[in-house]
């Protein structure tokens, strides 16, 4: 069972309280009606599914109820960091700094 840091509760909580909610940073096109079938396929079906660092959404379903984002290594299942929904995707420097922190 994972231990997940909820950025809203600012605490690590057991995975049971959370629900995984798929890949992060996939924005719903604002003018969704006019996109092509291919674009819709990309938006709705195609996923990076990386082996390694993944950006993903979680919801603290049985906690504060908030959706948030996480960076996790899908090989070790270790979290690099979590951050509030709507914040931009962290860049490499930020991730490196974070993983240093968590490895100490």
């Amino acid at each position: 069972m994972l231990l997940i840091h909820c950025p809203y509760c600012d605490e690590e909580r057991p995975e049971l309280e959370f629900r995984h909610a798929g890949e992060a940073h996939i924005e719903r096109p604002t003018d969704i009606k006019s996109i092509s079938d291919e674009e819709f396929m990309k938006f709705f079906f195609l996923r990076d599914n990386p082996k390694g660092v993944a950006y993903e959404r979680w919801r603290h379903m049985h906690g504060c109820g908030r959706f948030f984002n996480a960076v996790r290594d899908t090989v070790s299942d270790k979290f690099v960091m979590t951050y509030e929904a709507g914040k931009p995707r962290p860049d490499g420097d930020e991730l490196r700094a974070k993983s240093k922190e968590t490895n100490q």
Binding site: R13, L16, C64
Partner: protein, 189 residues
Amino acid sequence: MAKSEAVQPHYPLEGRLGGSAFVSVSPGEPASRLALRARPEALASLSKALGVKLPEKPKTSTRATAVKAKGRRAAWIGPDEWLVIDENGADLLAACDGVDGVFSAVDVSNRNTAIIVSGAGAEATISAGCPQNLSMDVFPVGACSRTLLGKTEIILLREAEDVFRVEVWRSFSAYAFAFLADSGRSPMM
């Protein structure tokens, strides 16, 4: 039946009692409850209207200090979510009437019911099904959190070192009660 004569309520866990020499598991008294959602700008006026300061720190709760709001408390549930409980059954929805600001107040008095778990084995009894760390240094008196008990969601509030209030949705209360009664048979403290 005369129209003005209200019918009598039936409470979900009426008559139940569970536990052992180490812990008592019993239904809480009926209370009124408000599910409150609000933008930060509305907090001050809502706190004032309700007579209890809405906590802004995660996993905490506050109790009303004003005499008129005695028995009332507010629990932080999420960054814009609170559960307000009034043990005297006050009309909390009415209290929010006319308050300025953008918020949502919904009466959930009958949605939840409370189970009181008390005694030296209280923490151990709840820890049979709650994956959170409930030790005093991490979950002190006054701490409050939505979490899980076995297969049901609860809101857990620590009222004293040995007393917890378990708020649970009505139709899950029989399960939660039975769970606590089972884990309370021989909690290892």
